[in-house]
């Protein structure tokens, strides 16, 4: 048997994760009923090992498995993002799970399974591999969303996510089938070659196929009008899971979208451009306007993440190298801001799981100055105030869109960023300027605090060295086959 076709280095990171899932499961089984610490430590070790493997095999894989996966710098870059998110939620999670009496060892293995799925989404150069990765990721997420069986809203979130998610993947598979029907292959290289060669890119089944692919992916990104699930699911799911869900799967969906649409973006032509233009404009506007008047911090962050999907779509629409690299940078900074913000949200929540009121933040600036300062960093980063990372992410993506000629869309995006100031700023107003409501103290949880601090540090750091990170992102995009 010819082994050179099965270059395991291309999928080294997900392989380590897969083995790690088993390891974590077994460690959890063997470590007794009351003690979840070994499972957590094992999961952290697995994530670190996977990150080490990812760095060691950075951009060395190349295309393998009959052209189905590519272990290029692009995959490595995204793997690192996913692993960072996983590390943070695993580090921060136990305190939350303990508080709600849902500390099961499966949390760790499910997070790892879903990250493994994401890794395949980022590495897949075949529509079916991307689909498999997406399903692996989603199945784990459906379970995670319902991780608190005692709470009705958690069950509701899980079921809602499962039903709508299954619909979306149904669309995706149908789209893949139609594409296959047109070009006789699910290989992405063939897909872009066909589009580049065809006079009418949407001839035959192709138009419907591309549209359905787009629906399947935009659902996972939570792009308007396929965003309705996200506030309910983020709100109902346990908050550690919301932190994870709002960050990593969105990044994975964009990774898959870039894999599929980056190369043929130019050959897709006018209808595609118009659809994405409208989707992007709608997504950021609807997301921001809906976020304006949310009383629950979780719902506000959910709508804000919808708006950010809109900004990110600009990068895909631009279809140039800077746009793609900008998306990579944007996501690398966005995940830290979102994980950090959600984590702070559950840390300060003192009214029980059912109520994530913004009022919980009252006087946080004086009760826990450092925590409030870090929350401010996340909020300012999400607004895009320089010199924080969020600003440069937006700058890169917007610049790419201007280069591609979408000036008015960028104007809309910039105005939207200005609108978003209102609701992000409100959190800070409450933290620093609302009078005392005699709230209970916020627990001091060193591990969780360390996770939040790491997020804040990354948001600041990425803002100080945006140039070199962008260079890495550019190299990653250039390494795509």
């Amino acid at each position: 048997m010819d082994l050179s076709r099965f270059n395991l280095i291309t999928i080294a990171t997900p392989l380590v994760l897969g083995a790690g899932v088993l390891l974590v499961m077994l460690v959890d089984l063997l470590s007794g009923r009351a003690n979840r610490r070994p499972a957590q430590l094992a999961a952290l070790a697995v994530v670190l090992a996977a990150a080490a493997v990812c760095l060691a095999t950075w951009n060395t894989g190349g295309v393998s498995f009959f052209g189905q996966v590519s272990g290029d710098g692009f995959a490595s870059f995204f793997n690192l993002i996913f692993l960072a998110v996983a590390f943070l939620v695993i580090l921060a999670g136990p305190a939350y799970l303990e508080r709600n009496a849902i500390h099961f060892g499966e949390y760790y293995s499910l997070v790892l399974v879903s990250v493994m799925g994401m890794a395949f989404m980022a590495a897949g150069t075949n529509l079916l591999v991307i689909f498999l990765g997406l399903e692996t990721m989603s199945l784990a997420l459906y379970v995670l969303a319902g991780f608190n069986p005692a709470r009705q809203s958690s069950n509701e979130a899980s079921l809602k996510y499962l039903l709508l998610g299954s619909f979306a993947t149904g669309f995706l598979v149908f789209g893949i089938a139609l594409v296959y029907g047109q070009i006789g292959s699910t290989d992405l290289a063939r897909f872009s070659a066909y589009l580049a060669g065809a006079g009418d890119p949407f001839a035959g089944y192709m138009g419907a196929g591309v549209a359905l692919l787009l629906i399947g992916l935009t659902f996972k990104m939570a792009v308007v009008p396929f965003h309705f699930w996200s506030p309910d699911v983020y709100d109902g799911a346990p908050t550690v899971v919301s932190a994870f869900m709002s960050a990593a799967p969105k990044a994975a969906a964009f990774a898959a979208a870039l894999r599929i649409f980056y190369a043929p973006a130019e050959s897709l032509g006018l209808p595609w451009e118009r659809i994405l233009w409208i989707l992007a404009a709608l997504t950021m506007t609807v997301g921001n306007l809906s976020a304006l008047n949310q009383a629950s911090i979780k719902r506000m962050l959910a709508y804000s993440s919808v708006a950010h999907a809109g900004y990110l779509l600009l990068g895909i629409l631009a279809g140039n190298e800077l746009g793609a690299a900008g998306i990579l940078f944007y996501l690398a900074s966005y995940v830290f801001m979102n994980v950090g913000a959600f984590t702070v949200a559950w840390m300060v929540n003192r009214r029980g799981e059912g109520r994530y009121d913004l009022g919980d933040f009252a006087q946080l600036g004086f009760r826990r100055p450092l925590l409030a300062a870090m929350m401010s960093v996340f909020m300012l980063g999400l607004i895009g105030i320089p010199p924080l990372a969020g600003f440069f992410g937006k700058l890169y993506v917007f610049t790419a869109a201007v280069q591609a000629g979408y000036v008015w869309l960028v104007v809309i995006a910039v105005l939207n960023s200005a609108v978003s100031v209102f609701y992000y700023l409100r959190v800070m107003v409450i933290m620093y300027m609302r009078e005392n409501e005699a709230l209970k103290d916020v627990d001091r949880i060193p591990a969780t605090f360390a996770a939040v601090a790491a997020c804040a540090l990354m948001v600041i750091l990425l803002g100080l060295i945006p140039g070199s990170v962008l260079d890495v992102a550019r190299a990653a995009v250039a390494s795509m086959p």
């Binding site: 048997m1 499961m25 077994l26 089984l29």
Partner: protein, 119 residues
């Protein structure tokens, strides 16, 4: 190329005819003596306790069924592998060993979680 399939069509047709014929014979010739037990959805000679729509099965049935399907699928992979085992290299052996190892870990997990204990 279509003529290769002519026998298949014939077979399908004759199967349909045969079935329809047998059912027709049963309808016209068979004796009909209804009794309530015969109308039950599940007939095994003992009278059913509950009306069928309210009948609930313990959830453990499903878990066991899922476990069964996992091992059912395992057979699908193992069978062809076993048939050509001698022509395959060591890699194939290692691959299938990993596959079985993963399944065994799953089984161990299920046992340890008490899925097979009928409480």
């Amino acid at each position: 190329m279509t003529e290769q399939f002519t026998p298949v069509v014939w077979m399908l047709l004759s199967a349909a005819l045969l079935t329809a014929g047998m059912m027709a014979v049963a309808i016209f010739l068979g004796p009909r003596k209804m009794n309530p037990v015969k109308a039950e959805p599940y007939e095994c000679g003992i009278k059913t306790e509950d009306p069928p729509l309210n009948m609930r099965h313990p959830i453990r049935f499903y878990v066991v069924a899922i476990l069964f399907i996992i091992f059912d699928v395992e057979i699908v992979f193992l069978y062809p592998w076993a048939v050509v085992f001698r022509q395959l290299s060591l890699v194939a052996f290692i691959s299938i060993a990993i596959f079985i190892g993963v399944l065994m870990a799953g089984l161990y997990y299920a046992v340890k979680k008490g899925v097979l204990e009928w409480r």
